[in-house]
Symmetry: C2
Subunit: 143 residues, 2 copies
DNA sequence: TCCCTAAATTGTATTTATTACAAACATGGT
DNA sequence: ACCATGTTTGTAATAAATACAATTTAGGGA
């Protein structure tokens, strides 16, 4: 569970300088599974980096997205959210609580992949299939 | 193809007063298949209603969404988009051009519905399945 | 058809998330 | 250790959306 060296490696591979801010942002994003907003990340990362500027959060996240280290996700509300998981996956989402959780399902992916290999869509070339499963969490604690 | 009486009926059924602004917004939204933003709607509807206020666009769309006459859709960019089609359907989306088109596929819906009837997700009750098919349009004119 | 009232529209002022910018600072290669 | 370049910070600016109060309009009842 040594996460910091892992992060340092990621940053290095992406050609980015290692800064306390970047390490802390990535670490926090990997820890929080809630797909946090920039604001939520700012609150959390500030605990570690006292002088932190909100701008740095935005800059850092933009840079991470650019380099493919992080993905943006949207919900029905008007704020961008961020996801440290870059591998293909889907989301469970409850519009009422605005809660979002990851959903991995290789069997489903296989079915969808097969389906769209067979079924061609006229004038459109599918490169990725994202599912948003809307519904309610039988709330077993908010994460 | 008499669309206005149809719109008037929709508005009446929703318990809303018939105003030129509302009729024009709905008409424009039904005509444009592009899932326009409030701003794009404002530009288009202004042609018909000269004194139109942007606020009216926002108010009207909010009201329509409240009453279920219209749905909000999101893309990867930071603007809300609107959809006059309220029946269940999916979207084809190209992140590069930010172009979005509707995708109806009952066969696919059947497959997904069957799959999630069998496969229970622990702690989550699925009520709707939305697919966003990412990819590129072999652009046959931007609609 | 006219009145009246509730509902809708408008213009303006705010809010809120995000972005732009330039100065200060820190990283990492030499 | 030094320097150049990339990064962070604080502040100012944007842009979408919302709040609000004054004005206007729709449409049901007289
Ligand atoms: Mn915004
Ligand atoms: Mn916004
Ligand atoms: Zn995720
Ligand atoms: Zn649609």
């Amino acid at each position: 569970m040594k996460i910091v060296p892992e992060i340092i490696q990621k940053l290095t591979e992406a050609g980015l300088k290692i800064t306390p801010q970047r390490v802390a942002v990535m670490q926090t994003l990997m820890k929080l599974k809630s797909h946090p907003t920039a604001e939520e990340l700012y609150a959390e990362v500030s605990k570690t980096i006292p002088g932190l500027s909100p701008t740095t959060i935005y800059n850092t996240l933009d840079t991470f997205v650019d380099r493919g280290l992080v993905k943006r996700v949207k919900t029905d509300l008007d704020r961008m959210r961020y996801d440290a998981i870059t591998e293909h996956h889907h989301h469970l989402y409850c519009a009422i609580s605005d809660r979002m959780e990851d959903y991995f399902d290789p069997e489903l992916d296989r079915i969808l992949s097969d389906y769209f290999t067979r079924k061609k869509i006229n004038g459109f070339n599918v490169t990725d299939i994202r599912l948003q499963l809307m519904g309610d969490f039988e709330n077993k604690a908010k994460q």
